[in-house]
């Protein structure tokens, strides 16, 4: 059986005055029905760029895209990269939906939340405005907006941040999409509201049996909700596997550094928080070898200049666990 979503060799780059910005490079991953895939990495690693590519939201005039983004539904298979803009438009908000980081600015300030959600429904269904309104109220109720019947006519500025994110989720789910891309859905919210929104997402995922791509840099959130994790660095996938596997046996030096830099409650008082030294490389002039090599503590265990010169490929390191590194899992673990 084919996967619900297959991303194959996706490269997205933006020509600028300073040179070509390679935002994602030869990115391949997949997503199955009903699962939650977390994409983790620091700012500028290509998380959002790849999700925008799945939505077909990149401006073709200012972006160079190669590779495939295949979406398999009962209606057939579509390659988002090569499909016509009309085909992709129908996919967006119907089969694939997206919610964004900042619910303050992601809603149109001049339209009521009801109008904005109804619009999403009317774009993908045949029905009257009053059908759409009925659906919208049901959906607002479902995502936990109290008194949905009267709140449907409120404007976004009349809601709190958490409530706005609920509205966004309602809008994304109104057409019962197969895939929901959540781009840092809790980053802009209070900590107490964050967990409520994550719970809601989980609940909705069960309700509609959708697959979720969760883009975040919050490893705590990942541990809580994800089934599988993709770790990205400088536009490349560096490690991929089940969430427990990645957290217990990280094999890529970047993932190891990332996990070590999460503050822990059980840490002895006075210990310094670990950091990864250095800065991520410029996406305009990526090193020809491993992009992480300049910051890597394990590169010294690789003989010669291999890390500097040869770009590692994504390889199977452990069971169902891939990484892009010249070292084997055993070699990395022996030096921990």
């Amino acid at each position: 059986m084919s996967h619900l979503l297959e991303v194959k060799n996706l490269s997205v780059s933006f020509p600028t005055d300073d040179g070509l910005v390679q935002a994602t490079d030869d990115l391949s991953f997949h997503l199955d029905l009903g699962e939650t895939l977390a994409i983790v990495g620091e700012s500028g690693c290509g998380k959002s760029v790849s999700s925008m590519a799945i939505m077909g939201l990149h401006n073709p005039k200012s972006t160079q895209i190669s590779g495939q983004v295949l979406i398999n539904t009962v209606l057939g298979r579509t390659d988002v990269i090569t499909a016509s803009s009309e085909e992709v438009r129908k996919l967006r908000g119907g089969t694939v939906s997206m919610i964004f980081q900042d619910p303050m600015s992601a809603l149109h300030p001049y339209f009521t939340v009801g109008d904005q959600i109804s619009e999403a429904w009317l774009l993908h269904n045949d029905g009257t405005k009053s059908d759409a309104r009925k659906k919208t109220i049901e959906m607002l109720d479902l995502v936990g907006i109290p008194d949905a019947k009267s709140r449907v006519d409120s404007y976004p500025h009349q809601f709190s941040g958490g409530m706005r994110q609920r509205v966004m989720i309602g809008m994304a789910l109104i057409n019962q999409p197969k895939i929901l891309i959540a781009d840092e859905p809790t980053t802009a919210l209070d900590v107490t509201v964050q967990s409520q929104i994550l719970m809601l997402l989980k609940e909705m995922q069960r309700e509609f049996n959708m697959a979720v791509i969760l883009i975040t840099h919050d490893l705590g959130v990942v541990a809580e909700v994800a089934d599988r994790v993709n770790v990205m660095y400088a536009g490349r996938l560096v490690e991929e596997g089940g969430v427990n596997e990645i957290y217990r046996n990280p094999v890529h030096p970047y993932t190891i550094g990332l996990l070590a830099s999460v503050p822990r409650v059980d840490q002895a008082h006075g210990t310094r928080l670990k950091t990864i030294p250095g800065q991520p490389p410029s996406l305009i002039s990526l090193p020809s070898g491993c992009a992480f090599e300049p910051r890597c503590e394990f590169a010294k265990y690789v003989p010669g200049e291999i890390c500097k010169v040869t770009r590692p490929e994504v390889e199977l390191k452990l069971i169902d666990h891939h990484a892009r590194c010249h070292l084997t899992a055993q070699e990395v673990r022996s030096h921990l």
Binding site: S105, H108, P109, E119, Y155, M171
Partner: protein, 332 residues
């Protein structure tokens, strides 16, 4: 909302009241004697004083001002016996250089100003907004560069140069007749004559304003297109057309309401240069004549207050319209 509007109208009257005082004060400070002006160079002091009395200028300035305010509500009567002149309320005074009540002078001039302002307004909004949208959509292409050139020329060319160029061009092409130009032709009885009277003035005024509106529209549309909610609209499958016309323009054009209202309100007070160049005896032409040639205080007073009222009124309309458009403003 209604309370707010009533409050604003009240403030508007206070503002006009103060303005009338200021104009009178300026009039009192300027070292020109309208009584002397009214009877030529060789004038006996007796006649000057008689004229001063007839014009109502032989009493203290504050009293003159108070008579003016009263006249607005009661009408005014000048002179005695056979030479009696009555101006019904609202009387802005009597314009001796024009031999008519100011209200009547303004009423005769207003159709020219209103027609000029309306025509130019529609023309520049149409050209400016659509050119701005086009330039924003085709950002970086030759159309966009063309719009930049248009903005540069339109906003840097002074209106008297632009107006003269158009006037001369129209004259050489026999499209304008300097002798009949500027006499009022009813649009109902002679639509062609009516249009010929105004079309070049409309174009002149519209070009200058359209440049500003093109720039405003273009930058607003481009700015709005990078907003998060535009991405949201795309993400839910809204077509590019609707993203622009429904989601983008609603926000991008709202600030233009402010500009449009104030510009139109300002123009209703008279477009001095354009009216002068195209010989249109509107309020602007009237007031510049009153200031520079006749030193005709009642007319200056009348046109100033009328222009200010239009400006204040459209300011209010703009605020109400904006509140209607932007729900975030509505609450406050």
């Amino acid at each position: 909302m209604l309370k707010y509007i009533i409050k604003r109208i009240f403030y508007a009257f206070v503002m006009l009241f103060v303005l009338s005082m200021v104009v009178y004060l300026i009039f009192g400070l300027v070292p020109i004697d309208p009584a002397k002006l009214s009877c030529g160079i060789h004038c006996s002091p007796v006649v000057v004083e008689a004229n001063r009395h007839r014009l109502g200028l032989d009493i203290p300035l504050w009293h003159q001002w108070w008579n003016f305010i009263l006249g607005l509500f009661q009408g005014r009567t000048y002179g005695e016996g056979a030479a009696i002149i009555h101006c019904p309320a609202p009387a802005f005074g009597y314009s001796f250089p024009n031999n008519a009540c100011v209200t009547e002078v303004m009423a005769n001039a207003f159709p020219f100003t209103l027609t000029l302002a309306l025509g130019a307004f529609f023309l520049w909004m149409l050209v400016g907004v659509s050119f701005g949208i086009l330039a924003a959509r085709k950002k970086g292409t030759y159309i966009d560069r063309l719009s930049t050139a248009f903005v540069l020329i339109g906003s840097s060319l002074p209106i008297f140069i632009l107006g003269l160029l158009i006037y001369i061009g129209a004259f050489l092409l026999h499209l304008i007749d300097p002798i009949t130009q500027g006499t009022w032709v009813s649009p109902l009885s002679d639509p062609i004559g009516f249009f010929r009277n105004f079309i070049f003035a409309w174009i002149t005024l519209a070009l200058a304003y359209a440049a500003i509106y093109t720039r405003l529209t273009r930058s607003n549309v481009i700015e709005t297109s990078s907003e998060d909610f535009i991405r949201t609209a795309r993400a839910k499958g809204v077509s590019e057309r609707d993203v622009l016309y429904k989601h983008n323009l609603r926000l991008a054009l709202a600030p233009l309401i402010t500009n449009a209202g104030l510009d139109f309100g300002g123009l209703l007070g008279g477009a001095i240069i354009t009216e002068r160049v195209f010989q249109l005896p509107g309020l602007g032409y009237m007031s510049i004549k009153a200031v520079l040639r006749d030193y005709d205080l009642p007319l200056i007073m009348g046109t100033t207050l009328l222009a200010a009222s239009f400006f204040i009124f459209f300011n209010l309309i703009v605020d109400v319209a904006y509140a209607y458009l932007d729900p975030r403003v509505r609450l406050e």
